[in-house]
Every structure is written in C-alpha cells, then in structure tokens.
Symmetry: C2
Subunit: 132 residues, 2 copies
C-alpha cells in the first residue's frame, strides 16, 4: 500500500485544532465562501483510500454553494449550523450525520455564536467541485 | 455508482444514538470483547467507497485485540478511552484522531465512568480481522 505508514499514531486534539495539523484556507478567494478553515487529519500521508478532514466555519460564515460527483459523509462535532441539500435546508447539531449525494447542490452555514465544525470524509479520488 | 441514493439526507443524533440506526452487536461472542455496540451510519446503502461507523464501549468494556491489513481512521466523540497500538497504550479523549496502520495490533478500551464512543472509517473493501 504505497505511502502507508509503518505504525499508527494519535493526533491529539487541542481544543481549537490538532497538534501538528495546520489549519488551511478553505479555498481560493472569490468562490463564494466566508471564514472557513480546513484541517487535513488523515489521508494521503497514510496511503488511505479516503480522506478525513475537519472544516470549521466561524459565526456568520458559509462554504461555497456547489456540486460534484463525489459524495460527502459528514458528522458535526462543534456548534450549530445548517446544511442546504438541493432546495431544502436542515439544521445540524452535534452528532448529526449528513450524507451529500452525487451532484447534489449543497452548502454549509454556521448558526449561532459559536464556530460550526464538522468532520467530512471523501474518496481519495474525486472530481473538482462546480460553484453554483 | 451502484446503490447511490438520488438525494442526500440528514441522520439526526438523538443523544444516545441516531434516528433510524439500530445499534448492533459488535461481533460474535467469544472474540475477546466486552460491551461494545456498532452503529452503521453511512456506507453500502449510499454506494460509498468507504464506511462510516460509530462504536461505543460501556465503562469497563473493550474491543477485540486484533490486526488486519485494512486501515482505521478514528475520531473520538464521547467519553474517554485508551487505545493499544502495537505494544504501547495512548489515552484518547474528545476530538483525538487515531490512525491504525496496516496489520498493526490494536484494541480500544473505555476509561472512566462514561461510555467511550468513536467514529471509525474504513474502506468498503477490507479483510477480516485476526484476533490476537
């Protein structure tokens, strides 16, 4: 398994991020998003066939409204938010799981005064999102 | 994508489980585990190339000490526990991420008075664990 590490490891959560994981800018500017960070937790370095990422949206922020062929498996772990799936909105709180189907237009927004954070799993091989 | 659903959906967390998700017995009896439940959150029904599962270990409980070729990507979301990776033990708390490498002997145990719960992502195609 190319790129696989010889041994496992623990990535310690430090309250507002993970030790050794530098939060990244979510996307290029001008793609219709506001105050979102991306934390790459596990994936290519381990030779995994999928990617485990954490996204955090500051109060008032939102991700790009977009679609793509690849699917999202999401679980919320911080704060409250809403998700748009097609033309409907659903509230999302701690523990809620969101499945985003192939080519389904979707967007996440923070709700409330606290950042909204969720883990999002995707296939290692995936297409590029199309902004809507 | 065979089995993929036409539209996304939200699986609501209800405090001690998810609406519409029946907790299952972790494994057959006699495989060296105690008081563990498995919650299948997303996977085959959605045609995903990976599986999103939640495992919860009651106080005093533990999973099978085992190894397998496939990798685990874990994030803890409830209580406290410990993980054995090879011959070392690490404490695991909310938000901590655990990577279990190919063929690495591993075991999870609850610590403290509350159940220990974690999300575990695996490839859809994977080998059968070997108990140790």
């Amino acid at each position: 398994m190319s790129g696989a590490r010889a041994s496992g490891r623990l990535i310690r959560f430090a309250g507002d991020g993970w030790e050794g994981v530098t939060p990244e800018v979510y996307k290029d500017a001008g793609e219709g998003w506001l105050t979102v960070t991306r934390h790459r937790l596990l994936g290519s370095a381990e030779g995994l066939p999928f990617r485990l990422r954490y996204f955090e949206i500051a109060p008032g922020g939102y991700t790009t409204f977009e679609r793509h062929e690849h699917q999202h498996a999401v679980i919320a772990i911080r704060g409250e938010g809403t998700v748009r799936l097609g033309d409907r909105w659903e509230s999302v709180r701690f523990g809620d799981v969101v499945y985003v189907a192939p080519n389904e237009p979707h967007q996440f927004r923070a709700a409330g005064d606290e950042p909204f954070g969720f883990v999002c799993v995707v296939d290692a091989e995936r297409d590029r999102p199309v902004s809507l």
